[in-house]
């Protein structure tokens, strides 16, 4: 059998991830197995995966492979095309960074009571599962890999299981993952019933009526949307992601959510192969809702990792906005515009993987150094952890979609796609898209406010507690892991035309057309539609920024006194400021909390004038709980209470029920 070397590389990545899982097993006896063998193998697996993915992207490969594993009548089908290659590369980069970062981080866990063997073993299985989902080319293998990924990550979420809240979060995650998995399974079932088989090749050829196709679309949107944390199915995400160890949180937010995006794209854009504008509207609305809700709740959090998890909801919302635009444009016969929106979605997917991975690793470094996740206790970390502070700043600027870093490019592309709405014929759609772009603009501005709060409260100012004051620099491995992702954030921001040239084959494979105009004006100029419509030159803006900075420094420093003298803060000449007088995370968010008060369920207790021990308490609850989850849970419980009536404890009654069931079944099949 002749296997393409790129495919061999992908298989090597799978094997290395599995091996990393196996060599972690002795970690219960020898904790070093995790640091010296398992995590380095994981990093190598990431390198191999990103290599295979990049290979597939650059050469535009479309390979298939059948392995003699699995069911007798359904061997495992694997594939490596441009779409799979892109997501393979994305996962690979993040796994590499996590593998480099991990050894120093798990060292802090060695004295804990948690099982390191479980951490290493399930990390390897988790990565194997993610890679296998992307490589799968039949519905059966896809579901097996999907469940492997979900189950392995369940054990990672439950890693710190001493804390009851963490056990609860892990159970919620398991429950939601399985409801979602069921929806995906049913979606594949609809497709398979028409196709007569489970291979993607057959599913692609299935002829579905619009009704069945829409049902399939609804099921996979539910299933993958649940995994991707779309509002209102997001409630598990801010519970589950923060409680895993930080490098796993980075993988979950950065990579696993993208696997859900991959699944959605693969099934809706590739397998179903029909496009209806109604679907686009549904995806657009879900995306906008997620983006806005996600960022508003992120703004209100004071737990750093929880805040980052809510911000993932927001970013996934932006990705789905772009995907919705692609669906809309494709259904109305504008494949080039659809390709533009699609490329924007992919670009944002990789951007989010990079900066969210970076921010979670940074939060992990802070946690490692101070044992603190609460922003209200932090402060002044930039001076104590300069490298982490620098990398975290890069992540904050990137996620706030500010030029010249990568987040801005994908947001710019999404806006450019939305601004082409005038080409649509339907007035309703023409007016829907501007509203969505207004939501996107509002989201972007709120993200900037959120990350000013995060960085300002955690890294600037003065330390608000003693253990944060004693924070120290984290080990080299942790800095390297963050540095790798920070460098990618800068590169993807400065060289957008090269990145889009890499993404083009994916769009071409899906829509039959790429963005031929994107680099028409040379590599310096990014012109997604045409040079007259819009252009952006990131390299030249960096050059100009540097030039102007040079001029500014020369101009400002020609004064007589060049030396900077240190003094006490002025603060309007009032009493000398203490750390407790600084603006806290909650007070920073207060104006926005007040402006958007309708979005939250607020429980605010202010001290009264007569309190001897004044305390301020604030709790913010998610409306999704009271509107969706609690009624559902209550309905399930009351249904269960009805079923209890059957349970009389009398054997004869049970036998009677069994007989009745048998009769009914016989009647049905006869």
């Amino acid at each position: 059998m002749n296997i393409h070397p790129a495919f061999l590389l992908a298989l090597l990545a799978l094997t290395l991830a599995l091996a990393s899982s196996l060599v972690a097993l002795p970690a219960a006896r020898w904790p070093r197995a995790l640091r010296w063998a398992s995590l380095p193998l994981l990093a190598l697996s990431g390198v191999a995966a990103s290599g295979a993915g990049l290979w597939a992207l650059i050469e535009g490969l479309d390979l298939g492979l059948t392995l003699p594993l699995g069911l007798p009548w359904l061997p495992w089908h694997l594939q490596l095309d441009a779409l799979a290659g892109f997501f393979l590369a994305l996962i690979g980069i993040l796994v590499t960074a996590a593998g480099i970062y991990g050894p120093a981080y798990v060292r802090g866990l060695e004295n804990g009571r948690e099982s390191l063997a479980a951490l290493g073993g399930f990390s390897g299985l988790f990565v194997t599962g993610m890679l296998l989902v992307v490589l799968a080319a039949d519905a059966f293998l896809f579901m097996v890999a999907w469940e492997l990924m979900s189950l392995a990550s369940y054990f990672l979420v439950a890693f710190h299981h001493d804390n009851p809240a963490n056990r609860r979060a892990a159970f919620l995650y398991l429950l939601m993952a399985h409801v979602g998995g069921l929806a995906i399974l049913l979606g594949f079932g609809v497709l398979a019933a028409f196709a007569g088989g489970f291979e993607f090749e057959l599913l692609r050829g299935a002829e579905l009526s619009t009704l069945w196709a829409s049902l399939c679309f609804a099921l996979v949107l539910l299933g993958f949307g649940m995994k991707a944390g779309l509002v209102p199915l997001h409630a598990w995400l801010p519970e589950a992601h923060p409680v895993a160890p930080s490098h796993i949180s980075a993988l979950m937010s950065g990579a696993m959510l993208k696997v859900a995006v991959y699944g959605f794209v693969r099934v809706v854009f590739d397998l179903i192969g029909q496009f209806h504008w109604q679907w686009g509207v549904v995806v657009l609305v879900a995306g906008s809702l997620s983006a806005l809700t996600g960022v508003l709740f992120a703004m209100m959090q004071s737990d750093l990792k929880r805040l980052l998890a809510y911000s993932s909801v927001e970013n996934l919302g932006i990705i789905f906005i772009a995907l919705g635009l692609a669906l809309l444009f494709m259904s109305t016969g504008h494949p080039t515009l659809a390709a533009l929106a699609f490329v924007a979605a992919l670009y944002h997917a990789i951007n989010h993987a990079l900066f969210k991975g970076l921010l979670f690793l940074g939060a992990g470094a802070v946690l490692h150094s101070t044992h603190e996740r609460d922003l209200e206790q932090m402060g002044g970390l930039l001076r104590r952890m300069p490298w982490t502070g620098l990398f975290f700043l890069v992540g904050c600027v990137a996620i706030s979609a500010l030029p010249p870093l990568n987040g801005f490019v994908s947001e710019w592309l999404t806006f450019q796609a939305a601004l082409q709405a005038w080409q649509l014929d339907s007035g309703v759609l023409r007016s829907l898209i501007p509203i969505v772009s207004a939501v996107l603009a509002l989201t972007g501005a709120l993200v900037a406010a959120t990350f000013v709060k995060v960085y300002g409260v955690a890294f600037l100012g003065q330390a608000r507690s003693r253990h944060v004051r004693r924070a120290r620099v984290v080990p080299m491995g942790m800095r390297l892991g963050q540095g790798l992702l920070a460098v990618f954030c800068v590169l993807l921001g400065v060289l957008p035309t090269q990145v889009i040239a890499l993404l083009d084959p994916v769009a071409e494979a899906v829509f039959g057309t790429g963005l031929p105009q994107a680099a028409a004006g040379g590599w310096l100029w990014l012109t997604p539609v045409s040079a007259e419509t819009a252009s952006y030159s990131a390299p030249l803006s960096i050059l100009l920024l540097a030039l102007i900075a040079g001029v500014a420094i020369l101009w400002a420093r020609r004064g007589r006194v060049r030396r900077v003298r240190r003094c006490d803060p002025w603060d309007c000449g009032l009493t000398p400021p203490t750390p407790r007088m600084q603006y806290s995370a909650a007070s920073f968010a207060q104006p926005i909390r007040r402006v958007f008060a309708l979005a939250f369920v607020l429980d605010e207790r202010k001290p009264t004038a007569t309190d001897t021990r004044p305390r301020y308490r604030l709790r913010i609850a998610d409306r999704a709980w009271s509107l969706l989850y609690m009624p559902l849970a209550q309905a399930v419980e009351s249904a269960a209470r009805r079923v209890v009536l059957l349970q009389s404890g009398n054997v004869r009654v049970y036998l009677g029920w069994t007989l009745a069931t048998l009769l009914v079944l016989l009647w049905i099949i006869s």
Partner: protein
């Protein structure tokens, strides 16, 4: 485009970029002068802001013990990002290469970058007023920025381009047409400009009273050349918004060619437009009182609503017709 023309275009862009910081203090001085006359005061000379900047540059720079390196970096980032944003707005002549480097969305992004670092600098020393200023600034901007983007989208959608040169060119070629979408966008942009450049009724540029300040709160700890850069950046921002409104909505007079006559006309036209705008700003600030902080969101929601109405009236009334 052949080489000599390209060179002159880049030279023109450079010259225009230099004109911005040169003119920005003058606009501030003009507004202050008009305001003083309206108050029946003589007021300082219109050149006073230049003297203030010179004085600040010559003074010693002091930095708090508690400040991090970001505090010293921020003034440069803020100034540079604001200047780059300004350099992309056609001032005297229209067809500039800088407008291709960065379109309107990049302009908004650059202003966002400047604001991001300004707000961080406000929180750096760890004083209460700094954090207060940053928090309020981000609240105002998180409502003003979407309004600005949506207003700008209205213009971009009519011109089918997000490049400012093209938008102005489209408007010039079309002649004077009173479009409802333009009126709405104009209203929105004016409100945003007032809020973003820290003018009455959202912020008061001439007070250091603690409870009312937003922008000044973030600058409290700055001295010497750092303060000079921050001040000049604020002046640039006002000029940028002024030029944006003047040249996008009333583009007539702007230089279409790089010939001396056209450029002189362009310079005269923009100076006249800015003088009128500055006087209008001074009159507005004299007759309107500053709002309470929590009235500002209503003000900015009005801006967002106007911008959205503009966009909707464009896609519904003007595209289909």
């Amino acid at each position: 485009m052949d080489e000599p023309v390209m060179l002159s275009a880049w030279g023109m862009a450079l010259l225009q970029a230099l004109l911005y910081p040169a003119l920005a203090p003058l606009l501030i001085g003009w507004v202050r002068k008009v305001k003083a006359r309206l108050h029946n005061r003589r007021g300082a000379s219109v050149f006073q802001p230049y003297r203030d900047l010179r004085k600040l540059l010559a003074k010693e720079t002091r930095v708090a013990h508690t400040a991090s390196p970001l505090f010293r970096l921020a003034p440069y980032v803020v100034f540079v990002a604001t200047w780059l944003a300004a350099a992309t707005v056609p001032l005297v002549a229209r067809d500039l290469p800088t407008a291709q480097i960065a379109d309107i969305i990049v302009l908004v992004g650059m202003l966002g970058l400047a604001r991001f670092f300004l707000a961080l600098a406000g929180m750096d020393v760890g004083t209460a007023f700094g954090g207060m200023g940053s928090s309020r600034e981000m609240m105002i901007s998180s409502l003003a920025e979407p309004a600005m983007l949506v207003a700008v989208f209205t213009l971009a959608m009519s011109a089918h381009s997000t490049s400012l040169s093209s938008v102005i060119g489209y408007h010039l070629a079309e002649g004077f047409v009173l479009r409802p979408s333009y009126l709405f966008a104009f209203g929105a942009l004016v409100l945003v400009a007032l809020a973003e450049s820290g003018r009455i009724p959202v912020d008061n540029p001439s007070t250091h009273l603690e409870l009312t300040m937003i922008h000044e709160g973030m600058l409290l700890e700055y001295t010497g050349r750092h303060l000079a850069l921050m001040e000049l950046a604020a002046h640039l921002k006002l000029l940028l918004y002024g030029v944006l409104i003047a040249n996008v909505f009333v583009p007539w007079g702007i230089g279409q060619a790089f010939a001396p006559a056209a450029l002189a006309l362009g310079l005269g036209a923009i100076l006249l437009k800015l003088a009128v705008l500055g006087a209008a700003l001074a009159v507005g600030e004299t007759v309107v009182a500053k709002m309470r902080l929590f009235r500002a969101p209503a003000f900015l929601n009005l801006a967002l609503l106007l911008a959205l109405l503009g966009l909707l009236s464009h896609v519904i009334l003007e595209v289909g017709a």
